[in-house]
């Protein structure tokens, strides 16, 4: 076992290589490792570049530790030097400090530039006017409001290819975190507050979006399809939603906002015209998003009965 120990690096590398190879390349991507838009692409490149740079500091450890242990292990008739009082070398010391300093300096420049370039609040993609989407996190589904188009959806977020999507996010319950990994993100969505996220997609396709912040039994089902379409298809999709959608009035919103997972809410609100995995709405009140955000700023306490996500607001279905 003594001799096996120094090679502990080996299983790490083997296991890593096998797992990297096994990572599937999906046609409809769910991961930024198979990016479908400029943000995710930049994130993936940044990951690879940062990993490579850090390896300069890591590989010497993985290689030298086993070598040192092997060479200087205690044994009979060892020819290796033994200098028990040696405790300092100016040259070695300088190297030890300067290599990490240099790597971190280079990484910091990358970090600084990338963080500003990929700021989720910055609208960086093309000069065409952005598609505005207002996102409301509910337990356990995402509501997408297109205020300019007068529609709203659940379970399916349509978007045109190569055009900027400007999202504004909030929740009407606990905090959630919004991520479409293949495109970019993520950003928190918090009640009474708004955050922003700008994305673009470079190819038509269907990718998964999700909430990554645990919020109860429907958490793992709180996914949706981000559907990227050519411009014409997108317009057709908008027309479909508008024609097949039911009105998102106060009563409907009240049902939608209850603690229900995607299947339950689909049963409660779907009409036969709608697809099996999505809800389509028209928008009688274009100010719905602002109304949701401002509910928490009335200067009075919100009774539990008016707070989506609580048991008093809507009885949570048992499993």
């Amino acid at each position: 076992m003594n001799s096996a120990r120094p090679f502990a690096a080996l299983p790490v590398l083997v296991v890593s290589a096998v797992m990297l190879a096994a990572m599937p390349a999906l046609a409809d991507s769910n991961s930024f490792m198979d990016p479908q838009g400029p943000v995710a692409l930049a994130q993936k490149n940044h990951l690879i570049r940062a990993t490579a740079l850090i390896m300069i500091a890591v590989i010497p450890v993985l290689v030298l530790v086993p070598l040192i242990v092997w060479r200087y292990r205690r044994r009979k008739n060892s020819s290796a030097a033994y200098r028990p009082k040696w405790e300092f070398s100016p040259l070695l010391e300088t190297t030890m400090w300067s290599v990490p300093v240099l790597i971190v300096a280079i990484l910091s420049v990358y970090l600084w530039k990338a963080t500003h370039r990929l700021d989720p609040y910055a609208a960086n993609f093309g000069s065409d006017p952005a598609v505005e989407v207002q996102v409301v996190g509910l337990d356990w589904k995402w509501l997408f409001i297109y205020p300019e188009l007068g529609i709203a959806t659940v379970g399916e977020m349509g978007m045109p290819v190569d055009r900027q999507i400007a999202m504004e996010l909030t929740t009407d319950t606990v905090m959630q975190s919004f991520l479409i990994s293949a495109l970019g993100g993520q950003i928190y969505a918090m009640p009474g507050m708004t955050t922003q996220l700008h994305l673009a997609a470079s190819e038509p396709g269907r990718m998964q979006g999700e909430n990554t912040q645990y919020n109860g039994r429907g958490f793992t089902g709180q996914k949706f399809d981000a559907v990227v379409m050519e411009a014409d298809d997108f317009e057709a999709w908008v027309d479909t939603v508008r024609s097949k959608g039911r009105a998102l009035d106060d009563d409907t919103y009240r049902i939608l906002a209850q603690r229900s997972d995607r299947t339950e809410v689909q049963q409660a609100l779907a009409t036969p015209d709608m697809p099996e995995t999505a809800l389509y709405f028209t928008l009688p009140d274009a100010g719905l998003f602002d109304k949701i955000v401002h509910r928490y700023h009335n200067g009075t306490a919100l009774p539990d009965a008016d707070q989506p996500g609580t048991t008093s607001y809507g009885q949570e279905a048992t499993q």
Binding site: L47, I54, V65, R74, Y82, P84, V104, W112, M193
Partner: protein
């Protein structure tokens, strides 16, 4: 709150709070697992009570342990407590891995049960395994290394232990009465607020955190004062063993980092109990304040755990390479830099909360800066081994495993420091893999290395070498199998805390991870086997002289186990590795010129009383039994006041007794043959080391 029924006598406690009630109503795997967990706990407690009664151990337990103010015994009790909690934490980890290893959409647990598992697992592993393990080692080792007879405030030390244990017991109680929080170890509101989680779960979390936080803060103050004020003559700061340097830094971190956590938890309690609105959605409440307060504590927290672990590794690398620690000053500077920098990076836990790119970039760079002193430390340890004479004993094997695995954790840490990448992998299993990658090899391996290294000092006999090696292998392999796959599913976008998943491509990774979890479970069992075999064979492994590893620092210069007063005569320190220097110059084991009476703190039951009462107090608050909470508050206050009037707080050990004991030991040293390092793990090693200097240059 008003909607919950509550009686004057029992608050909101009813029979339905017992898991058996749910089993009777709704029998299923989920309820069986919950009841089995409660059953193991109750059964385990019953077995312990039976053993104590059968072997008539209550008296010794009370006299020698529960009322003891001896830092060594308090340290050992901390570590025993940590091991018990570690067993529960590991089991929970295995259950969670098993749940996730089931196929897409499958699993045997309900979401709420799974959420309790990840919440208790995190809370236990951080606050009731890592913290008591580290605090236990500091308690046992630090006074011995600086040549002190106890910590600065021995009774406060006992109270710290009492508060930590009673808080930990709340997590045990929550298994049997009611339920624990489902809000994760971070307990982010508004999810944990009264509106969304009116039950008792978050309250168990809050009070466990508040009370253990007070205990830990008192420990930090205690350790800092001990090092500042109680070093042996000649022990200047730059002669402190590296472990003690890490303790100074860790104590500073405790003192400054624990209060924000207590404040955050108490504000959350105000929201839940008193209808305040610090973190609610309405009336100006804002959960972002909670996130800031929590991580203002949370980031220094990981460094207050890992710095003493670095300290243990520093001792281990030097001793088992038979060499001075390379780059002492460099390591001191690096340790201090890490301590200071750890307060400047908390925002990286929520790069995704919507602050400006400038702020994210500043905190990202600050985070990466920590990699510099950390990298230097790793290189310094490598240089310590370089041109040494390395013995691959169990602590050293943990150290080598640590070096190799830890740099991978460092790699993923620097990756996460980049806000743009963090946007993608935040809240995914990549993050989970990262912090396990630094906490297992970084902290847990160090603790296990420390157990193997200092056990003979504490109990007078060495641990079994063979089973020690087996457990190193199992821990390393188990770690790799469990957490390497999580990096990859994390990159593939699997959120943490998922009780189920749909993407079939995750399956092989989850299967690998559960195999790893089982290997980790067997690693834990192998630690217990090692303990059992070592106790069984203790006669062959005794090291009464006290220096089984040819140690370099003062704790090895005294008998094993050490006498209550540690040092018959306080040592005079002339160099950095004081004991190694003494052995080299032939001044070790010398008969002192004279002895003085020694004053030691007297036993007191106050720590134990506060442990029990604070436990009752927390339970009463959790279940809204107001009269009991009030009664116990008054009782605790009275006990402290009454105790503070006591004047006979010390006992005196007469010089004659010390002379007799010490000289008996010196005679033993003179009779004992010195052993070469070849016989380090053989029965011949009675703890009298022959320094290994042949061929040294």
């Amino acid at each position: 709150m008003s909607s919950v029924e509550s009686s004057t006598l029992f608050g909101r406690l009813t029979w339905d709070a017992l898991p058996i009630a749910a089993l009777l109503k709704n029998p299923g795997v989920n309820e069986i697992v919950a009841n089995a967990a409660g059953g193991v706990l109750v059964g385990g407690a019953a077995v312990v009570l039976f053993i104590l009664s059968y072997f008539k151990l209550w008296g010794p337990l009370w006299r020698d342990w529960l009322t003891s103010t001896d830092h060594k015994k308090i340290g050992i009790m901390y570590i025993v407590f940590a091991l018990v909690m570690l067993a529960r934490g590991v089991l929970e980890g295995v259950v969670m891995r098993a749940q996730q290893a089931a196929g897409p959409g499958d699993g045997f647990l309900e979401a709420g049960h799974f959420a309790q598992l990840f919440s208790t697992h995190g809370t236990i592993m951080i606050f009731f395994v890592a913290v008591p393990f580290v605090v236990g080692f500091i308690n046992f080792i630090m006074p011995l290394q600086i040549g002190a007879r106890d910590v600065a405030f021995p009774v406060m030390n006992q109270i710290s232990l009492g508060l930590t244990v009673s808080a930990g017991m709340m997590l045990m109680v929550s298994l049997v009465v009611g339920e624990f929080s489902t809000g994760g170890w971070t307990a982010y509101p508004p999810y944990t607020g009264a509106a969304f989680n009116p039950g008792v779960g978050p309250d168990y979390w809050i009070w466990a955190i508040v009370v253990s936080g007070i205990g830990t803060t008192l420990s930090g103050i205690n350790f800092a004062v001990t090092i500042y004020k109680m070093r042996a003559p000649g022990m200047g700061f730059l002669r402190l063993p590296m472990f003690c340097w890490t303790v100074i830094c860790s104590s500073i971190l405790i003192i400054f980092a624990m209060p924000p956590l207590g404040v955050a938890a108490l504000l959350l309690a105000a929201d839940r109990y008193l209808d305040f609105h610090f973190f609610t959605n309405d009336l100006g409440g804002n959960m972002m304040n909670y996130a800031n307060l929590f991580w203002l504590f949370g980031h220094p927290e990981v460094y207050l755990l890992v710095l003493p672990a670095y300290g243990i590794y520093s001792e281990v690398f030097a001793t088992f390479s038979a060499k001075k620690l390379y780059g002492y000053i460099s390591l001191v500077i690096a340790t201090m830099s890490i301590a200071v920098l750890s307060f400047t990076v908390w925002l990286h836990h929520f790069f995704t909360m919507g602050q400006s790119a400038l702020i994210n970039a500043v905190f990202g760079v600050a985070t990466m800066l920590i990699a510099i002193p950390t990298g230097v430390k790793v290189y310094d340890w490598m240089a310590t081994m370089y041109r040494g004479r390395i013995r691959l004993s169990v602590p050293m094997l943990y150290g080598i495993g640590f070096l190799i695995l830890f740099v991978i954790g460092g790699l993923s840490g620097v990756i996460l420091a980049n806000p743009t990448i963090d946007y993608q992998v935040h809240n995914t299993l990549f993050l989970v893999a990262h912090f396990h990658n630094v906490l297992l090899p970084g902290v847990l391996f160090a603790m296990l290395a420390g157990v193997n290294y200092w056990f003979p000092k504490a109990f007078g006999f060495r641990l079994d070498e063979r089973w020690g090696r087996i457990s190193v292998l199992l821990w390393v392999v188990g770690f790799l199998f469990t957490f390497m796959p999580l990096y990859f599913v994390g990159l593939m976008g699997m959120p943490r805390r998922s009780f189920s998943w749909e993407d079939p491509s995750f399956h092989p990774y989850m299967i690998t991870a559960v195999i790893g979890a089982l290997i980790i479970l067997s690693a834990l069992l192998s630690v217990l086997v090692q303990l059992y075999i070592s106790i069984r064979d203790r006669a062959q492994n005794r090291v009464p002289v006290g220096d089984p590893w040819d140690g370099r620092t003062l704790e090895w210069s005294i008998p094993a186990p050490p006498p209550a007063y540690n040092f018959a005569v306080l040592p005079q320190v002339r160099d950095r590795d004081a004991f190694a220097e003494a052995k080299e110059n032939g001044t070790a084991y010398q008969k002192p010129t004279g002895y003085d009476d020694i004053e030691l703190p007297r036993n007191t039951p106050i720590g134990f009383l506060l442990c029990v009462l604070s436990g009752v107090w927390m339970f009463a608050l959790v279940w809204w039994i107001w009269w009991l909470a009030l009664l116990v508050s008054v009782a605790m206050l009275l006990i402290i006041i009454v105790w503070s009037f006591g004047t006979e707080t010390e006992i005196v050990i007469p010089a004659a007794q010390i002379k007799q004991e010490h000289e008996a030991w010196l005679d033993l040293v003179a009779r004992t043959p010195a052993v070469d390092r070849d016989d380090e793990t053989a029965p011949a090693n009675l703890g009298y080391a022959r320094p290994d200097m042949e061929g040294a240059t």
